[in-house]
């Protein structure tokens, strides 16, 4: 049994998905202009990553390994994730319009979010158990949301700042991400 707390701390802080593994950068820079949308995106990602971790683990363990087609994991994982997100979108739209309004617009963006695919692959690489994978997926989502929220706070404040023209918008966002990553170095080597 792995140390679940260690997995969680690792995924949230030590190896933060965005700041250390560079996964999910597109939404990290794309949806971080407002804290409200960052929070919505964050929740959507947490949910999808948790579910995707469980589903891909099940498929990998009970389908790919028995049939000795591990090499098909990239194809199956991406298909499963895409289908899952698509289905999720349809279900939410039908049954919970208010939730759809809050999260739905972010769902299509998640299909090609490398963070989701990345967490599924990492679970397999690290040989986590089912619970370990789910915890890893959930924590990675939390880590993503944390980074996204901090970034959106910073960018909201930068809107009132007098950034030099060449650095406006994306370059300054990258600089902020660099300094944020520098601050997150605090967690390197953290062990439980």
């Amino acid at each position: 049994m792995e140390n679940l707390l260690a997995i969680a701390v690792g995924a949230i802080f030590v190896n933060n998905f965005v700041l250390f593994r560079f996964l999910g950068l597109c939404p990290f820079f794309g949806v971080s202009k407002k804290t409200s949308s960052a929070l919505g995106m964050g929740f959507a990602v947490i949910f999808v990553m948790t579910c995707a971790s469980a589903i891909t683990w099940l498929i990998y363990t009970y389908l790919l390994i028995p049939f000795e087609i591990k090499f098909m994991r990239t194809v199956t994982f991406i298909l499963v994730i895409a289908t899952f997100v698509q289905l999720l979108e349809m279900v939410i739209r039908k049954h919970n319009p208010s939730l759809y309004k809050a999260l739905g617009i972010y769902l299509p963006l998640i299909t090609t979010n490398c963070a989701v695919m990345g967490v599924a692959l990492l679970n397999v690489e690290e040989e986590y158990s089912l619970i370990g994978s789910v915890v890893n997926g959930f924590s990675a989502g939390i880590g993503f949301t944390l980074a996204l929220l901090l970034m959106s706070g910073i960018r909201e404040r930068l809107e009132l700042a007098d950034v030099p023209r060449s650095f406006e918008d994306l370059p300054i966002a990258f600089i902020s991400a660099a300094l944020l990553a520098l601050a997150f170095m605090a967690f390197s080597g953290m062990r439980l």
């Binding site: 929220l149 706070g153 007098d162 600089i175």
Partner: protein
């Protein structure tokens, strides 16, 4: 009848200015600088001068590039000075100067200069150097041994070998460590001066130091919290960096949260983290949280009953 000047009220301004605040901070740092020179020799002066000059020059250059006016407001001097104070006493001069330049260029000027930056420039400089040149940044010397005999800091000794350093040494500064983080008393003198002048808010240092002390007391029975409060850069950070106006919350309530958060991070790093010391990181991380704190922690407005401290953005 000369032409009258018409301007909106008020027609009087307090005599506090940016320069006055900045130069007061520099004055408050004099005891700490003096201690650094006393314990680690005159090489320290070279490092301080290198940092300050490099900071000033970088700021001048960056502002010229941005087509803005350079004002000698003392903020770059503080950045350089504070950076020098959290460097090891035998760091190569070029490295110190590079750290200051990086701090000013990438933590201050690209954000638009004074008042606009998110992260504390001096600490960015320190962490940048720390991550880039870990060996040089962790080469310490004992006080009064003016040639580089490497040794470990009190916190390093504690973390690696469970050796505690006597409190009196920590208070006076007779220990190895960064130039400015040795003598707790010298830092305290400067800090109290600034608090008395009302240039810094006492809430941040108090909540910060108290959090570290209390958490250490609760979490580790075998460790005395006084050691953790006095050792390392906690005092320097609490009085001079966690109180940096630009990068910390603007409200009193927010400042308390900032202090507590930074304290928790310091304790986490010291107990389970990879580094022996976490003051610089804790403040930088809380700097990142500052915009969110500022957004959600506001004072109670006259005539409005306080319902929630945190208003979720979804509500709006």
């Amino acid at each position: 009848m000369p032409e009258l000047i018409v301007s909106p009220s008020p027609h009087i301004r307090s005599d506090v200015s940016i320069e006055k605040i900045m130069y007061s901070v520099i004055i408050a740092l004099i005891p700490t600088v003096a201690c650094g020179v006393y314990f680690f020799g005159t090489q320290v002066i070279n490092i301080i001068v290198a940092c300050i000059l490099s900071a000033l020059f970088t700021e001048y250059l960056a502002l010229r590039l941005m087509g803005r006016k350079f004002v000698m407001d003392g903020s770059a001097i503080i950045t350089g000075l504070l950076l020098a104070l959290c460097l090891p006493p035998r760091i190569p001069l070029w490295m110190a100067a590079l750290g200051a330049a990086f701090a000013i260029a990438f933590a201050k000027c690209v954000f638009g200069g004074l008042g606009q930056n998110i992260f504390n420039p001096a600490l960015v400089g320190r962490v940048f150097l720390m991550v880039s040149w870990p060996v040089e940044m962790t080469t310490w010397i004992m006080p009064f041994t003016y040639d580089a005999v490497t040794t470990a800091t009190p916190l390093g000794l504690w973390k690696m070998e469970q050796i505690a350093t006597p409190h009196i040494n920590l208070a006076l500064g007779n220990v190895s460590g960064c130039i400015g983080e040795t003598s707790a008393i010298a830092i305290l003198i400067g800090g109290v001066f600034l608090i008395a002048k009302r240039y810094i808010d006492w809430r941040t240092p108090l909540s910060y130091i108290a959090t570290v002390g209390i958490l250490m007391l609760i979490l580790r029975q075998d460790q005395d919290p006084v050691f953790h409060i006095l050792a390392g850069g906690l005092f320097l950070g609490a009085f001079f960096m966690a109180t940096d106006y630009v990068t910390t919350p603007i409200t009193r309530e927010g400042r308390i949260i900032f202090g507590i958060g930074a304290g928790v991070i310091v304790v986490a790093i010291r107990l389970i983290g990879g580094y022996p010391e976490g003051v610089a990181f804790s403040i930088l991380l809380m700097n990142a949280f500052t915009p969110l704190i500022d957004r959600h922690v506001k004072p109670r407005v006259y005539g409005i009953k306080r319902k929630k401290i945190f208003t979720s953005p979804v509500d709006r």
